[in-house]
Symmetry: none
Subunit: 211 residues, 2 copies
DNA sequence: TAGCAGCAGAACAAATAAAGAACAAGTAAA
DNA sequence: TTTACTTGTTCTTTATTTGTTCTGCTGCTA
């Protein structure tokens, strides 16, 4: 599972995984020693340090609050049993290809913000949908499909290279991509130049600015 | 489980949870001491203070027999299996009291849109925060607290009757509630008239219009 | 050999917990 | 109302628990 752990470290981590529910409080080093059959906290602490630097457990510095698994570690056991989660796949900025994120993470999305069809999450860079209430840094939930009705907001791939989030208007000989920002102008394309990658179904914004 | 409690604090909280029905009156510190096997009220009181600042219990100042569990604490017992869900409690329209919904439902909210503190979800009616990208029909995630910094967006209760979602500016002799809509004007109040009920930490919008 | 993983134990500092004194606000009885 | 008692609160002092660092030891392996 994890490469750089020694046998003993793996053993301790497995123990914590299996018994995470058994402890009403996060276990102290002393309790863990007893469980692992050790007599010295100092010995155990070296393993703990290793697990912390792997990001698997956390132990608030100096605080006597015991050893906890990180969210990351919990995800490793049951990462696929959450139906409500959607993948956060990357960033979309008008005029650039979608910038994929290296490790895909999953976000819990309320039912009301998605559809029955496959959906994914992007983060918006730029102000092209400003007047539609979609700001720089907002997340958007996109339903994956390759066609849209006029007036929907779509993720469009132009000339197989530039992705953008815009209103779409499709006519027999012309496709318009229209920003919701009066300082920008609508773009006119040959329908063959524009490929629809998905349709906007939801939007989210954090006001705590830690992301 | 709650992160920032020490073991003794957790122990006392657990005791209060288990025995909330047994006491016809809320227990005194003395009675709690006896139950926890302590000899000094002073010792216990420190833990009580910690639980209060965590928002788990309430103790009206100086009142005797005043220790009660918070709504938030009670909510934790029955929803402890689903950490990501927040209650959708009702609608907020500028100038009206919060319209509570009859059956509280729970929405799965991504971590990035909430805080460690208790939060709840409201649905917005009206356009008073239009220029901040909060539209009629959007959901907002509110952190439950009774104070705010200037410039934050708060749920404020004015004259104990009208709830509203506005920017807040607090000065010694005046509290301003400022809409993000240039067609509306800031409202000036005596600080005593304005009660803060929560602070905006997240926002969500559906584009499928079925809600 | 050197190097690594692992264990035990000593020692230290910070966090946590307890007891008790003292005081003020609430409560109830006279 | 006055008085006595209870209860909540604050503070200081002391003790205990816990996380952390170090040193020294053992066995294993390349």
């Amino acid at each position: 599972m994890i490469k750089s752990l020694t046998r003993k470290q793996q053993e301790i981590f497995d123990f914590l995984l299996q018994h995470q529910d058994r402890f009403s409080h996060p276990p102290t080093l002393e309790e863990l020693c007893a469980s692992m059959g050790l007599k010295s906290r100092g010995s155990l602490h070296n393993h703990i340090k290793a697990l912390i630097s792997e990001g698997l457990i956390e132990a608030p510095e100096r605080k006597q609050r015991g050893i906890r698994l990180t969210e990351y570690a919990k995800q490793m056991i049951n990462s696929s049993d959450d139906q409500s989660a959607l993948p956060f796949v990357g960033f979309i900025a008008a005029g650039k290809p979608i910038e994929a994120v290296e490790n895909i993470t999953y976000m819990a999305i309320p039912e009301q913000l998605k559809t029955q069809k496959p959906c994914y999450v992007l983060k918006v860079k730029g102000d092209s949908m400003l007047e539609q209430g979609i700001y720089d840094g907002d997340w958007v939930i996109i339903e994956q499909r390759c066609h849209a009705r006029n007036g929907e907001i779509v993720v469009a791939l132009v000339n197989k290279s530039e992705a953008t989030l815009k209103f779409i208007e499709q006519y027999p000989h012309e496709t318009l991509l229209i920003p919701a920002n009066s300082t920008m102008e609508a773009m006119r394309y040959n329908p063959a130049q524009v490929e629809i990658q998905g349709v906007l179904v939801g939007q989210m914004r954090s006001y705590t600015k830690n992301h």
